[in-house]
Amino acid sequence: MPRPALSCPGCGSSNIVDDALYAQAQLVCVDCGSVVSEGALVDDPVGGSAVSYSWSTAVDKKPCANLIKGLQRVKALCRSLRVHGEIENLSQTNYRQAYQHESFIKVSLQKKEVLAGCCVLVSCRLLNWPITMGTISCLLDADPMVVGAVYQEMVKILNITAPIVNVTDVMEAHSQEYKICSPQVPEEFAANSKDLTKRAVALVELAADSWIITGRRPVPIMMAAIYLAWQSLQPTKHRLKFSLDKFCQIAKVNKHKAALKRITEIKEVLCKLGREIPWVREAVTPDNVVRQVEDILQHRYALLRRALRTHEEALLEECQASCEDSPTDDTAPSEISEPVAQTKNSSSAEQCEPNAERAKRSGDGDADPCTALELHGDTQESQVPATNWGKRMLFAPPCVIHPKKRRMEQPELKDVTGDEEISDSEIDSYIRTPQEARDFALVQKMLSASESEKS
């Protein structure tokens, strides 16, 4: 059809029609055949059409690139930990869910990577794959505290209750890290990994019973257990003199400072048991206890019983000495053969009768007769001496045996009603005199002036 208001540049004719040739619209002059203007292709707005690509093609919203990268990171972590497929799937699901949540959608990429690690961690825990937070932090190369904070936030958001990790379970996986087998180190230092793990696990179980593990970080304990196990597998002079530092160097692991303290604690426990070995003549000290470790672990239950018996006998002797002085209300004597807790209300006389069979009672039982004694003996005392209950047990958490020194509390106001009169003089003591205020202002000005000079 002819198009008005257009003239052909070639012949000047105004007879121009739309012609869709090859589906491209053209304005063609009928008279001379020249093309006045091409169609859409030429006249497209510069920089693309007015309608954007995503609007016109109506493609589904793709997951953002970071989410995809994150999921791949989760996968990579699972592969490097060699966990099975279920854990991988669960972690990816968790990651996707957590990622979309408002607390995590806008955080830094570094934090998102930590989130990936935390998802793997929680999935492992839910599906009973033992792994510590320390391992994840190492893999991510992130600060364990940051990992911890992200983990707790994530668990709260996803509303998961994950079971805690048992140190004994993690032990095996952890001991794989130590490169202490034959080809890797010289023969005199080598140890069979199965034996090493077995012995370390036994040491960890012993530590768990004697309150060394509860409340503490697992990795230093495991390091201490492996070190002692390694020493005791072949207690040569050379090995015994080998420090933890050097051991970590040849095993190619990073040393934890806390492991030294754990070694001391475990050695103390071993000494307590080692003293009960009947065929050992010399005194058992932390220096030479490592030689006895094999025997101690093999017979540990029998040794525990003996140690408890000895301990209880020692305590009863002590009680006997002090119980003669304290008054007794209940005179009904009941033997120690009774369940120990009953002695809470019983007189002190009973405790002085040792009964060897009942010595199998735990160390806890030892605390009872003497605390009951204290409570009955001195009803005026407001509190049982705090540290003593730990020292009286055979095994107690180390924080109880060696309590931190606390700053002494100042004597507090008693019987404050809250509505008392407040003396003017007291309040005035908190207010500067005018002269003082002027001086203070002056000094402040001088200080700020000198600071601005420096900077």
Partner: protein, 344 residues
């Protein structure tokens, strides 16, 4: 004796311990050796692996109900008592929970054998003991309160005129969210939840008696921390208001409210935190890699408890003293159940 028998033996001893306490409370004279206690034992702990006896509650006397009433009355009285905290009560009344747990024992007879035969599988709230009184009273360590002075304040002027004030408007201070990942926390530090802004826009004022610290904001609102009792907190807040008054502002003392109370105490026996988190999973959170204590969020009353292996317990989040006492009385029987003996 082999290991499994040894285990059973020790678990028996835990049960025996309780059965004897119950025996005394009910006035039963039964100082018999463990063999005879088997009937008590089976009634309380339900069928164990090898014993498999029937649940036999016939020995329960009727007096149990009357004991409840007197015990409950005594408990409410103790809770309402606002006298100062002392340590252990003179009439140290031993435990406690067994009577209550026996009543519910029938429903929990299927419980596992190891850690605690008395804790139910999935409690919605921790069981409250019938016979109360652990004999331990938590001591208040810190009270946080707020008050409105109802007048705008010139903080620079206050900082200039008052001796005990500091004001650093350009200082960035550690915010509360950073505090959450602090691991080595002492009992005293736990109580210092300071409300801060990124730029510290308040005057910090301190008085000696009662030893407290106040944050005074330019809007006239004030936060007072560090007092050891509600009355001391109120007295301290009034003293701060007086100081502000003396400096020339028309300060009043409106809407004094206690926002948080922190208390601590010691149960004097070690606690197996791993066991506690297993049976009370929905309330507890225990991450030894992050924090050495177990965080127990009690539902009723709404208190957060930090439980440590040494037996020390910190209670926080209370608005009233009674909540703290109630929370501790709720947790004590649970902790007693985890008073694990040394040998497994």
């Amino acid at each position: 004796m082999d290991e499994s028998a040894l285990e059973r033996y020790f678990d028996d001893s835990i049960a025996n311990e309780s059965s004897f306490m119950l025996g005394e409370e009910l006035g039963l004279q039964d100082p018999a050796p463990p063999r005879q206690d088997a009937s008590h034992l089976s009634a309380k702990a339900g069928p164990r692996g090898e014993q498999g006896e029937e649940l036999d509650l016939s020995f329960l006397p009727d007096e149990l109900s009357t004991q409840d009433d007197t015990a409950a009355a005594a408990e409410s009285q103790t809770a309402a008592d606002t006298s100062h905290d002392s340590g252990i009560c003179p009439d140290y009344n031993s435990q406690d929970s067994t009577a209550a747990e026996l009543q519910q024992g029938a429903s929990t007879s299927g419980m596992g054998t190891s850690a605690s035969p008395f804790c139910p599988m999935t409690p919605m709230t921790p069981m409250t003991p019938v016979t109360e009184r652990s004999g331990i009273i938590p001591q208040l360590q810190n009270i946080v309160s707020t008050v409105n002075l109802c007048c705008p304040l010139d903080l620079k002027f206050i900082a200039l005129q008052a001796r005990n004030a500091e004001y650093n408007p350009k200082v960035l201070t550690m915010s509360q969210c950073q505090c959450q990942s602090v691991v080595n926390v002492t009992l005293e530090n736990m109580s210092l939840f300071i409300m801060v802004f990124q730029r510290f826009a308040a005057v910090i004022m301190r008085i000696r008696e009662p030893r407290t610290t106040a944050l005074i904001f330019s809007s006239g609102k004030m936060v007072c921390t560090g007092a050891k009792s509600e009355e001391q907190s109120r007295l301290a807040a009034r003293k701060y208001a007086r100081v502000v008054q003396k400096l020339g502002f028309p300060a009043r003392f409106m809407d004094f409210k206690i926002q948080n109370m922190v208390a601590s105490c010691d149960v004097f026996f070690p606690i197996r935190l791993e066991g506690l988190v297993l049976t009370h999973q929905q309330f507890s959170s225990y991450e030894p890699e992050l924090f050495p204590g177990l965080i127990y969020r009690m539902v009723k009353p709404r208190i957060v408890l930090l439980i440590f292996v040494s037996g020390k317990v910190v209670l926080t989040g209370a608005k009233e003293r009674a909540e703290i006492y109630e929370a501790f009385e709720n947790i004590y029987p649970i902790l007693r159940g985890f008073r694990k003996h040394v040998i497994t």
